[in-house]
Symmetry: D2
Subunit: 330 residues, 4 copies
């Protein structure tokens, strides 16, 4: 019941901690005969790698290996197991803070639940998302056939509309002052056939919301025009329909491509808000495992802003949800 699996038909189970020899997962329910393009998986993992402005100087070489479920380059229908070796882990990145709960990290809650902190090497690590990216890459390959495309974009960083040049400056300023930044990511999914999603608890937007909020630093999710809808009148909000060239079309897409929990064929779009990286170099008040108040400064190699690396994670989680509902609907 520890919730390491997502999906009901196309399922990803992840395993591994930042300090274990490997991280990985098992994909179950992937149909046989899907060509598993390793270059594509490689490229997806590269999008998550450090190297972006503001990311950690740690070099993470994500060497992945598929251990089962593939024959002659294609899936067999059996469980697909993959691992990614942990090559670059350095305990020294974490040692000096051992015993102190890093503010807004999972240290304190892990300590209360498991008797040890996340800093000691746990599941909360952003490193676990590497398995999500591999699972998402397989899901994306599956979604290519029916023509479903998923595209995530950085929308804002540090409260400013994203602009590569300006943003680099913003990140540099934060880095210099030992601080960190959050941001928002949008995601647009085109080519979704009508009919995906279930009418009661497994509405398509409900499963997307869960998938997004399961990403470590996500704080908010809205689809269609989201919170703005709450201020609108029904007559202005409703997506009216008409007929054009013999085809049914919508005059607007405030609903974000989902009605009654089920896709309507329009573009699905949503936004996710991420809090800033909690590992700041500035001094913070905290408490240690002995219950004493202490000052903590988090050194080590950490992201100043992780939002650029999260774009592919958002896409991966969306792909997992879509692949699951596509097969549930098959």
């Amino acid at each position: 019941m520890s919730g390491n699996t997502i999906g009901k038909v196309f399922q990803l189970t992840t395993f591994g901690e930042s300090h274990s020899p490997a991280i990985g997962g098992i994909i179950e329910g992937c149909p046989a005969g899907l060509f598993l393009d390793y270059n594509f998986v490689r490229k997806e993992l590269d999008r998550r790698k450090p190297g972006y402005f503001g990311s950690t100087p740690r070099k993470e070489t994500d060497e992945f290996e598929f251990l089962s479920g593939i024959e002659n380059g294609s899936t067999t229908g059996a469980p697909i197991k993959f691992i990614i070796k942990n090559l670059e882990y350095k305990p020294s990145d974490y040692q000096d803070i051992s015993g102190v709960f890093r503010p807004s990290h999972a240290d304190y809650t892990y300590f209360l639940k498991y008797g040890k902190t996340e800093a000691g090497g746990g599941r909360a690590s952003g490193r676990e998302t590497v398995a999500r990216v591999v699972g998402g890459a397989v899901a994306k390959l599956l979604l290519q056939k029916p023509g479903i495309e998923i595209r995530g974009d950085i929308e804002t960083i540090g409260g400013e509309p994203y602009d590569p040049v300006k943003t680099a400056g913003l990140v540099q300023v934060a880095l210099n002052s030992g601080d960190t930044l959050g941001g928002t990511v949008t995601c647009r999914i085109s080519g979704v056939p009508a009919g995906l999603g279930e009418p009661v608890f497994d509405k398509l937007q409900a499963d997307l919301a869960k998938a997004m909020l399961s990403i470590g630093s996500a704080k908010a999710f809205e689809y269609g025009i989201g919170f703005e809808a709450a201020s609108m009148k029904g007559s202005a909000y409703n997506d009216q329909m008409t007929v054009k060239d013999g085809k049914i079309i919508f005059l607007t897409n405030h609903d974000g491509g989902i009605q009654g929990g089920i896709s309507n064929g329009q573009e699905i779009y949503f936004r996710v808000g991420f809090k800033p990286v909690p590992s700041v170099k500035l001094p913070q008040s905290s408490v240690n495992q002995e219950g004493e108040q202490v000052e903590i400064r988090i050194s080590g190699r950490h992201d100043t802003c992780h939002v650029p690396r999260l774009v592919v994670v958002v896409e991966a989680m969306a792909a997992l949800v879509l692949a699951d509902h596509l097969l549930r609907n098959a």
Copy 2:
């Protein structure tokens, strides 16, 4: 795989359509020995009933009956089945629009997925939430023991901060013009012990997000300070800790009581945004099942603003999630 069940240990399955003789559910996983206070269930159902300003003039008498799992007033540990009779259904409320897809309703997507519209009597009906309220009431009774309290409040209606008097005016204006309103609801959960939630996919906020977005007209969810976090610096955002009177306390609660997917003992709070009721009396452009463009005016007895009735539904869904995680952690 049609997703009629929510929860992994404390589970609610709902059944019934607006036009079937009864709506109801089965609660599984409720421990034995819980006194099932029928008056409380009654009161919770009354909070969802029409009668609030802006609600439908339909009289919905929710006569519920527990058919199993209870002996001498207390739960036995066996499945708890309940039904609520559909006493007040009038097909005439729906007939004139039969065959036309009501804009931003589930009619069009249901028609594509199931070959018939929601207007013909389906699961998307707001009526299904009555079973959620009963399930949530049982969950709340279970949560009383460890002292967990859930309180939902209307935050805004039609974009205005909620004020009973002003809002009634706002609703009257919308009603007069044949229009409808949406709004936002906040929810605060106190008394949650530290340690609830799972570290990977079943993070507490992820399950809350799914539960909230599974409510028909919900468009957005944020917990803690939500989207605002995306604009903050880490040093300002982080919930620093200190020791006061020998007890660990937090200086802020931007995280909303959950860190790393696990409750930290602080108050959990979140916000949900609801779109306006889609049934507006004003003329709208739409399409019928034959694919012809038509004008539609939705008469019948519908809510002008359903947000006041959704408060208890938000609480019920939160209670179901908390009860499930409480038992998963037991």
Copy 3:
């Protein structure tokens, strides 16, 4: 986690105890458009009713009602909920033994697990099988389309090959002496397409075995030639194949229609062994809830031999398993 649901795609959840106002269930995953022949359900229930030789003189009128998931006589794809009222329950049938653990009943284990005995009205009651029969009837209707037929037969009663006349005598002798009988039931399933079943844990025979052993008094299950296979040489056992009139045929069917967990198109057949009804009128040594040794004689209206009534239950459980795998394979 109390295991009230069977199946992964076509799922039956049962609820209700012998003493609750109603017994029933929810069927999920049944496709839309299946004509639900009430007469057939009625007939299946009648096959389980007392009235056979050796059965209890209690009159059980199984009035069933479908509360949801059906429109104009056919399934809608939504959950199908049904109830069967408990009309004929008489506490007096159970009172005199209250507080004493009936030997080989569930009384003792229920008392240890739940703090009260099955005699006090629990889930172990044979009465719960009425919900299985309704669920199985729906499954059978679903299986009719692809031409799958399930036929159970009494094989032996009290150790003797079944013969209606002789057996009636055997039962009369047991009844006169205050004793009870068990027996074996065979089941043959024809028309099963090749390919049903999964290769690892959900082998078709594994799911059948679980379904059969979940029937209260079942003690044994074997499929194909079963235990006898353990004494055979491979060369004699193996189901060799040949070609006849251009079609692949098997020379034998020792495997019972399943190989590697997957149906091969031959007839599936298996046997189930049932212990005698534990409620004997003869004096037995037992213990009461105070831990004192007592003599118990179980009066009341009980079956002398329940095997004839179990035939339709065996078929129902087989139908549930087949329907589930048929849809999993769809």
Copy 4:
């Protein structure tokens, strides 16, 4: 829905085919703090290795590695992933029969379901049981705390009561004639606390039956006195109780330690029947993928009798079921 997972709280998922680089599994739900004795796992794997009389001359070196979920030798509560490398696979063991369906193997059903035969390297391979043995070893370590012990024994081979010396002769005769043998295995579980098992579908015996029938060549399962019960009168069958030295005891154990689906504290015992190894060297009639009748003689290194190697697999599956119910009951 491909059924690669067993258990609801303590769960084992296996992956890998005989021809994939590795075989392995993920254990979820194992509590933190269990010392994972590698020597014990090693010894359990050795019990499954060839080397027994009648086993294949293939040398299978089962080098296992735990990749996650363990820290300082103990479980962390996170998923435990393990792999076993496939070191000794030789395609030449299978080549000559490629394209022909081996009688009573999974070749034909796999071909119909997946479009390729098991001989081409599939999940049905006995090799998959290596992952079950590792999972079972972890389960056994967990069961040691409450004092649960599981002991499997060969009961018969080729229809003869097991005797090491006589049996070796029997196997030699079969080997010389190119034939194979099956047998029966008994299993006794002591130290089981009363109260394990659920009352409806997840009866303890039902889950044991499924686990046993999920082993490739199992054809039959009976618990307690099994099929023999069907011939007994209730008065002779019932496990009467009395009080001795102030303790409740049973006079017999025909029920095999389980009543109403729930353990009663007595020894649990059951029997499993296995068909002979299907790979016989004697000529057999079969059919190839082109639908032509052919004669097949299966050479290669195969077991003459696999029953001795299955004892640890039976124990492993029993341990998985008991561990799951122990935690479900916790």
